[in-house]
C-alpha cells in the first residue's frame, strides 16, 4: 500500500545511519551494499513470497480495512508489520541484523487510536513465516487459517493498543493481484523498483474493542505485500496514496509522488472485479486537494478530487476523521475515506511528508 512512501521514510529512519554515519565501523557507504535488487522477469512464487526476504532491505505486510459496525457507524483499521534490515542476513539471537516494526490503528468518526511496536529479530518476539503463514510482533498477529488454498485466503488479524484492540477474520473473495509487470513495480524514472503484490478482495467480520465497549463489524480489507532495497530519490518529499474499493467491485490503487520542485508524478493500477490488473499510464491519474485540515501542527489535505478520464472516473474522497494522524516514530496520515461522485465506495488514504 501506501507503504511505499512510508517504507522510504522508514528506511531513512533505520538505515540512514549507513549514509550519514560517515564510515562508522565498516558500515557501507553505498546504501545498497550487499542487498538484493529486484530484477524484472523473476516470477513470484507462493507461498514462499508470503514470507520474509531478508536479503532485501525493506519489506512490509500492510493491511487496511473499511468497516461498518452493528451500530451503523463507519470504522477503519490498519495493521502493518515492517521489516528493515541493517545487513542482508538473518541469524538467531540478538545479533540478527533485522528489525521489526508494527503499526496498528483504529479510526472512528470521532477518535483515532494508534499503537506502535518495535522488536528485534532472532529471539522470537516478532517475525514472519510463510508455511504456515504467520506474521507477528508481540501479541499482534496475522495468521493464515486456510487449510488447503493459498495461505492468505483466510486470515485472522489481531492487534492491541493501550485503549483499543481488534480481532478480525478475513476471507479473500478474489485472487492475489500482481502489481506492475508480474509484480515488478517500477518506482521512478531512474529505475528504482520493488516487488509488489496485493490481496484487495478480503471480506471482513470481527470485533473491535473500544473504550466504550465491543463493537461487531463487517467490511472489506486490502493487503499489500512489498519488498525492495532501494531508497527513494532524495528529491522526492512525500506521497499521497489511495486504495479504493468501488461498489461495483472494481478497485483502484494510485499514488502521487511529490518532489521539491513542486511537480508530481502519478501512477497506479486499475483492478477489474475479477482481479485483472491494468497498470495506469504515468500521470493518467489526477490528484487535486479539496480541503486542507490542521492536523498535528501540519496542513494536511484530507479531502481530494480524483480523476481518471480513461475510466470516466471523477470522485471526491472525504476523510472519515480528519485527525487520522499516525503519531509514530515516523509520523504520517492514514485513514479511511468515503468515495462519492461518478463512482461510490470506500477506501484508504495515506499521506506522508507533510512537515509542520
Amino acid at each position: 500500500m501506501i507503504a511505499r512512501a512510508l517504507a522510504l521514510v522508514l528506511s531513512l529512519v533505520l538505515l540512514a545511519p549507513v549514509a550519514s554515519a560517515q564510515g562508522f565501523a565498516g558500515l557501507g557507504t553505498d546504501a545498497g551494499e550487499g542487498f538484493t535488487r529486484p530484477e524484472r522477469g523473476q516470477p513470484l512464487v507462493f507461498p514462499r513470497d508470503h514470507g520474509p526476504h531478508p536479503d532485501y532491505r525493506i519489506e512490509w505486510w500492510y493491511l487496511t480495512a473499511t468497516l461498518t459496525g452493528e451500530d451503523g457507524r463507519a470504522y477503519g483499521i490498519q495493521w502493518t508489520l515492517f521489516r528493515s534490515a541493517l545487513e542482508p542476513r538473518r541469524t538467531t539471537g540478538w545479533d540478527s541484523p533485522q528489525i521489526w516494526m508494527g503499526h496498528a490503528a483504529l479510526t472512528t468518526p470521532g477518535r483515532h487510536f494508534v499503537a506502535e511496536r518495535l522488536a528485534r529479530d532472532g529471539i522470537g518476539q516478532a517475525g514472519v513465516t510463510a508455511e504456515p503463514f504467520k506474521a507477528w510482533i508481540d501479541d499482534w498477529r496475522m495468521t493464515g487459517t486456510s487449510g488447503t488454498a493459498d495461505a492468505l485466503d483466510r486470515v485472522r488479524l489481531t492487534a492491541r493498543g493501550v485503549e483499543f484492540s481488534y480481532d478480525l477474520d478475513l476471507a479473500a473473495e478474489g485472487p492475489l493481484v500482481a502489481q506492475g509487470d508480474e509484480g515488478y513495480s517500477v518506482k521512478s524514472a531512474s529505475g528504482q523498483a520493488s516487488w509488489y503484490y496485493s490481496q484487495p478482495f478480503y471480506r471482513v467480520s470481527g470485533t473491535l474493542e473500544l473504550p466504550d465497549g465491543p463493537v461487531r463489524v463487517t467490511g472489506q480489507a486490502w493487503l499489500d505485500r512489498e519488498w525492495s532495497s532501494q531508497p527513494l530519490d532524495p528529491d522526492q518529499t512525500g506521497w499521497d496514496w489511495i486504495s479504493l474499493v468501488f461498489d461495483d467491485g472494481a478497485r483502484l490503487m494510485g499514488f502521487r509522488l511529490r518532489d521539491r520542485s513542486g511537480g508530481g508524478y502519478t501512477s497506479g493500477t486499475w483492478i477489474a472485479p475479477d482481479g485483472t490488473p491494468t497498470p495506469l499510464a504515468p500521470n493518467a491519474l489526477r490528484f487535486t486537494p479539496l480541503r486542507i485540515a490542521r492536523v498535528a501542527g501540519r496542513d494536511v489535505p484530507v479531502d481530494w478530487r480524483i480523476e481518471l478520464p480513461g475510466r470516466a472516473l471523477d470522485v471526491t474522497l472525504t476523510a472519515l476523521n480528519d485527525a487520522a494522524w499516525m503519531a509514530t516514530l515516523t509520523p504520517y496520515w492514514e485513514g479511511p475515506v468515503a468515495i462519492t461522485g461518478s463512482h461510490a465506495g470506500r477506501g484508504y488514504l495515506e499521506m506522508t511528508g507533510y512537515d509542520p
Binding site: 540478538w94 545479533d95 474493542e209
Partner: protein
C-alpha cells in the same frame, strides 16, 4: 535625620575596621563550613538522583526472579507475545583494566523512554549500538578508564549515571558470557487493556516497585546526616563569634544610640536602620562564606567521593557544580544567624530609655540570677539528653541527643566557672589574689560565649578523635583477623577461575572460596558468601556472638553466620531462623564486619552452590607462605594474562582498606580542625572586646601601684586559667560525645558498635592547643595594655562616665 543617623552608625564600623572584619569573617566562616557541607551533600544527592533516573528506576516497575538471579530471556518473549510491554535488561560488573564498571545491557527498541539510552529519532545512533559496536558512558567515568581496554567504542553521554556502561543487551550477554540470560525486565507504565495476568504468563517473576531498587541513596543517608550534623556544629560555633562581635558593636554604640534618640530619632527607625545594617553585613558575609564554602567543598569532595565509592559503591562526581539550592540556603542561614545574634541588641535599643546612662553593659556584673537561669536550662538539656540516651532509637534521635548534650554542657560552663571562681576567692587570703579571682569572675559573662565555643570545639575534637582512634584500633585488629589468607585471586570467567584453582591447589596450603551472591536481607540489599570449613576461619574469624560448635554447624549446613549489621537490623538472635529463598537455617554466630553497610550471611560452599547455582564463583583466598607469592603471581600472570588488580596480597588489601578508612575520616578531621580554628578566633575577638572595655577597671589597680607589666602578666595568667578550666571541663563532655558516637550514632548509621578506647595523649595535645589558643588570643590585648600610655589610664578618672 535618617541620613545623619546612618552616617553616625556607619562611622562606628569605619573607626573599628577590626571589629567589622571580625563580624564579617565570623559570619563568613560559619556560613562557609555549613554551606560547604551542604554543597557536598547536594552534589552527592544529585549523583544518586541521576543514577536512579538514568536507570529508569525512579518510576518504572521491574520484573525479576524472586531470588534476584538471572533468568532466561524466553520469559521476556513470552510476556511480549502475551501483550505485556516490558523490556529486557542484563546487568553485571565489567572489569576494565584495574577498574570495573557496571555493565548494563538494554534493548533500545523496547526500552521505555526514561530508560532508553538511544534516541530512536536520531538514526545515526541506532545501528552501531544494536551491532554492539558502541556503548555509552558518562564522560567523567570515561576519563578514569583506559579506552584501549574497553571492549567497544564508547561515546560519552552526560545523562548517564557515573560508573555505568550502557550497551546493547546482545553485547552485554556476550561481554558477561551470559547468552540468553537477563537480570530483570523494565515494565512500561501504561499497559494495554485486557492483558492476561502476570503470574499466568511468567509465574517465576516478581514485580517490584521502583523504590525497592533505589538503594544507594538510603544506604548513604546516614553518612550525609553525619556531615550535616558537623556542618551545623560548625555553624553554631561560628555564630558565637558573630554574636560577640555584634553584641560588642551594640554595646560600644550605646552612647551614639542615646544621642540619636535624644536628637529625636524614633526608636522604630533606629531599629530599622540597625536591622538594615545587619542585613547588609549578613549578605556580604554570606556571600564571602558561600565562596569559601565552595572552596571547602571542592577541597573535600574528592575525599568524600572516594569514601562513598569505597564504602557504599556509590558513584559521586568529583567535580562541584554551583546549585542555587544550597547557595540560597547558605545566604538564608547567614541572615538568620546574624539576626539571631543581633536580636538581643535590637531589643535593647528598642527599649532603651532616652535618658538612661549610656554605661556599657559589660561594666555591670552579671547578675547571679542570669547565671541561675542558664544553669537551670543546662540541667534541663542534660536531663533530656539522658532520657533520650536511655529511651530513643534512630539516627535523628542520636543527633538530638548529641545536640542536647553539647548545648547543655556549653550552657553549664559559665555558671560552673563562676561558682568555681567564687569558691576559690573565698579561700584566697591575698588581696591581689582575691581581686584577680573576683575580676575574672566578673569577666565570665563577657567571655562566656567564647569559652563555650572553645569548649564545644574541644569537646567535638575529643569526641570525634576518640571515636576515630577507637575505630582505627578496632579496625586494624579486625583486619588482621579477617584477612588471614596471604593472597587473593579473582578469575575473570568461571573457566579461568577453575583453571587458576587447579593451578594453585598443589602449591598452596589451602585455596578457600570467596563466592558471593547478591541477596536482599531484612528488606535491604545484602550479600551471601560461601565460607569453607578451614582452620583459617575457625582460628581467626572475628565472632561477636557464637553458639556451640558454630563452625561445625556451618560446615554441615545446619546453621549460618550473619554479620553484625544484619544482626542489629533484623533483631535475629542466636538460634532464630533466617529465611533465604529456598532454604532457612538457624543463626549460629554473629561476626563483626566493619566498613560494610550491607547485611551479610555466610554459609557452607555446598549450600551456596545449591542456592545460587548461577552465581559466578570467581574469587579465592590462598593460604601460602608470603615469600612464595611473587612466583605464584608471575605464574598466573604468564599463563592466564590476569591483570595485577585481580591478584592482591594481604598487605595490599590492608593498605587499601586502611586507605578507605582514612579517607572516610579525613572529612571529619578537616571539619574538626576548622571548628577549632573558628573557636580560637571567637576567643580572640572576645579578649579584644573585653580588653577595650576593661581599661576603667584596671586604672584604679594601676593607680594603687601595680605596674602595667604586672597587670599584663596577671591578664595572661587569667586567660590561661580560664582556658585550662574550659579544657578540663571539655574532657568529660567530649568523652560523653565519643560514647554517643560509638554506641549510638555508629550503630544507627552503619550497623556496628565499637569498643571505646581512651587516648590521654590526644587530650594533652588538645589541652595544650586550647591553652596556646587562649594565650595567643590574650597576647595582643595584653600587649596593648602593657603599652597603654599612663595618660590614657589617668583619663579614665577624668572621663568617669
Amino acid at each position: 535625620m535618617t541620613g545623619a543617623a546612618l552616617s553616625a552608625l556607619w562611622g562606628h564600623w569605619r573607626r573599628h575596621p577590626g571589629q567589622s572584619l571580625t563580624l564579617v569573617l565570623g559570619l563568613a566562616l560559619a556560613t562557609a563550613l555549613w554551606s560547604g557541607v551542604q554543597a557536598i551533600n547536594a552534589e552527592a544527592r544529585a549523583s544518586y538522583d541521576r543514577a536512579a533516573a538514568a536507570l529508569g528506576q525512579n518510576d518504572l516497575d521491574t520484573l525479576g526472579a524472586s531470588d534476584g538471579r538471572l533468568f532466561d530471556q524466553s520469559a521476556y518473549v513470552d510476556l511480549r507475545r502475551a501483550g505485556w510491554l516490558v523490556s529486557p535488561a542484563l546487568e553485571g560488573r565489567l572489569r576494565v583494566g584495574e577498574r570495573s564498571v557496571t555493565l548494563r545491557g538494554l534493548d533500545p527498541l523496547t526500552a521505555p523512554l526514561a530508560a532508553n539510552p538511544v534516541d530512536l529519532s536520531d538514526p545515526g545512533d541506532l545501528a552501531p549500538f544494536l551491532r554492539g559496536e558502541v556503548g555509552y558512558l558518562h564522560p567523567e567515568t570515561l576519563a578514569t578508564l583506559d579506552p584501549t581496554l574497553l571492549p567497544l567504542r564508547v561515546a560519552p553521554a552526560l545523562r548517564l549515571p557515573l560508573g555505568v556502561l550502557i550497551v546493547d543487551i546482545g553485547a552485554a550477554q556476550r561481554l558477561l558470557d551470559q547468552p540468553g540470560r537477563v537480570s530483570h525486565l523494565l515494565v512500561w507504565p501504561n499497559q494495554p487493556r485486557g492483558l492476561p495476568a502476570l503470574d499466568a504468563v511468567a509465574p517465576d517473576l516478581v514485580r517490584r516497585a521502583p523504590q525497592a531498587r533505589a538503594d544507594v541513596a538510603s544506604l548513604t543517608d546516614s553518612f550525609h546526616l553525619n556531615l550535616t550534623a558537623f556542618g551545623f556544629l560548625a555553624f553554631a560555633v561560628g555564630l558565637f563569634i558573630v554574636h560577640s562581635a555584634i553584641g560588642l558593636a551594640f554595646e560600644q554604640r550605646r552612647t551614639t544610640f542615646r544621642t540619636l534618640r535624644a536628637l529625636g530619632l524614633p526608636a522604630g527607625r533606629l531599629v530599622g536602620l540597625l536591622a538594615a545594617e545587619v542585613t547588609l553585613l549578613a549578605l556580604l558575609a554570606g556571600g564571602i562564606g558561600l565562596g569559601l564554602g565552595a572552596l571547602v567543598a571542592a577541597l573535600l569532595l574528592p575525599d568524600v567521593a572516594a569514601t562513598l565509592r569505597g564504602l557504599y559503591g556509590a558513584e559521586v562526581t568529583g567535580a562541584l557544580t554551583l546549585r542555587p539550592a544550597w547557595a540560597l540556603a547558605g545566604l538564608g542561614l547567614a541572615l538568620a544567624g546574624a539576626f539571631a545574634a543581633a536580636a538581643q541588641g535590637l531589643w535593647r535599643v528598642l527599649r532603651l530609655p532616652v535618658l538612661a546612662p549610656a554605661q556599657p553593659r559589660a561594666w555591670l556584673r552579671a547578675s547571679d540570677r542570669g547565671l541561675v537561669v542558664q544553669a537551670a536550662m543546662a540541667a534541663l538539656l542534660l536531663i533530656l539528653a539522658g532520657i533520650i540516651a536511655l529511651t530513643a532509637t534512630g539516627l535523628i534521635a542520636a543527633f538530638v541527643l548529641l545536640a542536647c548534650l553539647l548545648l547543655g554542657a556549653a550552657l553549664a560552663l559559665p555558671p560552673l566557672l563562676s561558682g568555681l571562681l567564687a569558691l576559690a576567692a573565698r579561700r584566697t587570703r591575698s588581696v591581689l589574689g582575691q581581686w584577680v579571682l573576683a575580676d575574672t569572675r566578673q569577666q565570665v559573662p563577657g567571655l562566656g560565649l567564647a569559652l563555650m565555643a572553645l569548649m564545644l570545639a574541644l569537646a567535638a575534637n575529643i569526641g570525634v578523635g576518640t571515636m576515630v582512634s577507637s575505630f582505627r584500633m578496632t579496625f586494624t585488629g579486625w583486619l588482621d583477623q579477617r584477612l588471614a589468607s596471604e593472597f587473593y585471586v579473582t578469575g575473570r570467567t568461571q573457566d579461568e577461575a577453575d583453571a587458576i584453582r587447579a593451578l594453585l591447589a598443589p602449591q598452596a596450603l589451602a585455596v578457600l572460596p570467596i563466592w558471593r551472591a547478591a541477596q536482599p536481607l531484612a528488606g535491604a540489599p545484602g550479600e551471601v558468601y560461601a565460607v569453607a570449613d578451614h582452620p583459617t576461619y575457625r582460628d581467626n574469624w572475628p565472632l561477636l556472638r557464637a553458639g556451640p560448635q558454630v563452625w561445625d554447624r556451618v560446615a554441615d549446613g545446619t546453621g549460618l553466620l550473619i554479620n553484625e549489621q544484619l544482626w542489629r537490623r533484623s533483631g535475629l538472635q542466636l538460634g532464630d531462623r533466617l529465611d533465604l529463598p529456598g532454604w532457612s537455617a538457624p543463626v549460629v554466630g554473629v561476626y563483626s564486619d566493619y566498613g560494610n553497610p550491607k547485611g551479610q550471611v555466610m554459609l557452607s560452599p555446598d549450600r551456596f552452590t545449591a542456592l545460587y547455582p548461577d552465581a559466578p564463583r570467581l574469587g579465592m583466598a590462598v593460604r601460602i607462605a608470603p615469600e612464595a607469592i611473587p612466583a605464584l603471581r608471575a605464574a598466573i600472570s604468564d599463563r592466564f594474562g590476569l591483570p595485577d588488580a585481580l591478584m592482591i596480597d594481604q598487605a595490599a588489601v590492608k593498605r587499601f582498606s586502611l586507605g578507605v578508612f582514612e579517607r572516610t575520616f579525613a572529612v571529619s578531621g578537616a571539619l574538626n580542625v576548622l571548628t577549632l580554628g573558628v573557636a580560637g578566633f571567637a576567643l580572640l575577638t572576645s579578649f579584644l572586646t573585653l580588653a577595650a572595655m576593661r581599661l576603667p577597671q584596671l586604672a584604679p589597680i594601676w593607680a594603687l601601684g601595680l605596674t602595667r607589666a604586672r597587670l599584663a602578666r596577671i591578664e595572661l595568667a587569667r586567660a590561661a586559667i580560664l582556658a585550662a578550666l574550659t579544657a578540663l571541663y571539655a574532657l568529660p563532655v567530649g568523652l560523653a560525645m565519643a560514647w554517643t558516637l560509638l554506641a549510638v550514632v555508629n550503630v544507627e548509621a552503619f550497623g556496628w558498635r565499637l569498643p571505646m578506647f581512651l587516648f590521654p595523649g590526644q587530650w594533652a595535645v588538645l589541652g595544650a592547643l586550647a591553652l596556646g589558643a587562649a594565650l595567643l588570643a590574650a597576647v595582643w590585648p595584653v600587649r596593648r595594655l602593657a603599652r597603654t600610655p599612663p595618660a590614657d589610664l589617668l583619663k579614665v578618672f577624668a572621663h568617669d562616665r
